[in-house]
């Protein structure tokens, strides 16, 4: 089971890295935020998978604090864009 969980985590990480590289190349500023969202949810999933490889799943709290604070980045980004000069790309 431990090997399967690690394989799933590896697949998710690869998936997220491909996504971030493509989002980095895109011309829209909002795609930067999408990259953070993508890595955020993938990180939570990988932490959960890694947590269950060992007997006391201590990493659950880490995943929990991630999702508790996950919205902060988007809020800060949107408020920043609202104040950005309109000509900026």
């Amino acid at each position: 089971m431990s090997g399967f969980l690690l394989a799933a985590a590896l697949l998710l990480l690869l998936n997220a890295v491909v996504g971030v590289v493509s989002l980095y190349a895109s011309p829209y500023p909002a795609d930067r935020m999408l990259a953070i969202l993508l890595i955020g949810s993938t990180t939570v999933a990988i932490l959960l998978l890694l947590a269950y490889r060992h007997e006391p799943p201590v990493l659950l709290e880490v995943a929990l604090s991630f999702v508790l604070l996950a919205a902060i980045g988007s809020i800060a980004f949107v408020q920043q864009r609202l104040r950005a000069p309109p000509h900026e790309p």
Binding site: S2, G3, L6, A7, A9, L10, L13, L14, V17, V20, V21, Y24, P29, R32, M33, A35, I36, I39, G40, T43, I46, L47, L50, V58, L59, E61, V62, L64, S65, F66, L68, L69, A70, A71, I72, G73, I75, A76, F77, V78, Q79, Q80, L82, R83, A84, P89
Partner: protein, 318 residues
Amino acid sequence: MSGALEASFDLLLGAALLWLAWHSVAAPQVLRRVAMFLVFGLLMALVWARLGAPDLALAEAAIGAGITSALLLGAGVATPHPDLDGAATRTTRSACGVPRPVLAVLCTLLGIGLALVMYATASTPAPAPSTAAVDAHVLGNPVTAVLLDFRGYDTLLELLVLLVALLGARVLGERLEPVPATAPPGGVAPMLDQLLAMSTPVLLLTALYVLWAGSDAPGGAFQAGALLAGLGVMYSLAGRLQPLAHTPHRLRLLLVLGVGAFALFACASLLWSPAPLTFPARGARALALTLDLALMISVAVTLVLLFLAAPGARIGRR
């Protein structure tokens, strides 16, 4: 099978970190750099998890997803750039005068050398930390004594660093007029209020749980304080906490609560041991938990006030 999987996971993680680090340094726009740096921070939490350090993963998660992202994402616009993004990134001359290609070659060589040295030093077992400085007769276990001693001084000095950083930010911030805040068209408020109403109790509970569970591990208070600071950052992004012109006395008390508790403890500990900041033989756990509680409150208040003093909080006020 499992070994190969672990190696490829670590390798992919390392390669992704290097790619992200390069682009958070060399990307053409501020937003790109900041976003790649934030992604870098999230992946660092995975590295700590892989290396068997869940304490660090927790701290990195609470700080990286919370206060760092709000600080950096806000900074890109709040600081007007006189010369950025244009000439500076396109020239081949670097800031220190050495041409950039030469600098790149030098840094690559340095990196290769460092990698070899690091591999050589990390694969040889390090000598155990010296226990000579500790009075082995006060506490039975010298390793515990090292940890407790170390933790006391380390934490006290760190709290002082936090306070000095806050003082510096406040003093510098007094010279600035606030950046003119135009009201955002359709604020983020209504939905954010809903989110805050639902996640505040869970966050408070999680912070207290992390504090309680971490009283045996080094520094459960920092992660809990960082989580609470994240809550404070959310409240200030929602416009419910405003940057303060003066720190009221009650907040000042909370700011120095951690240092004060530690100083009191250092004086009191002289009653039962010749060295300051050593725990008594009985009741060490309750005492450590009390200190951690004070520590958590001080860390959280300091971090929130630091965020409020920084450029990121000067945008998007209601």
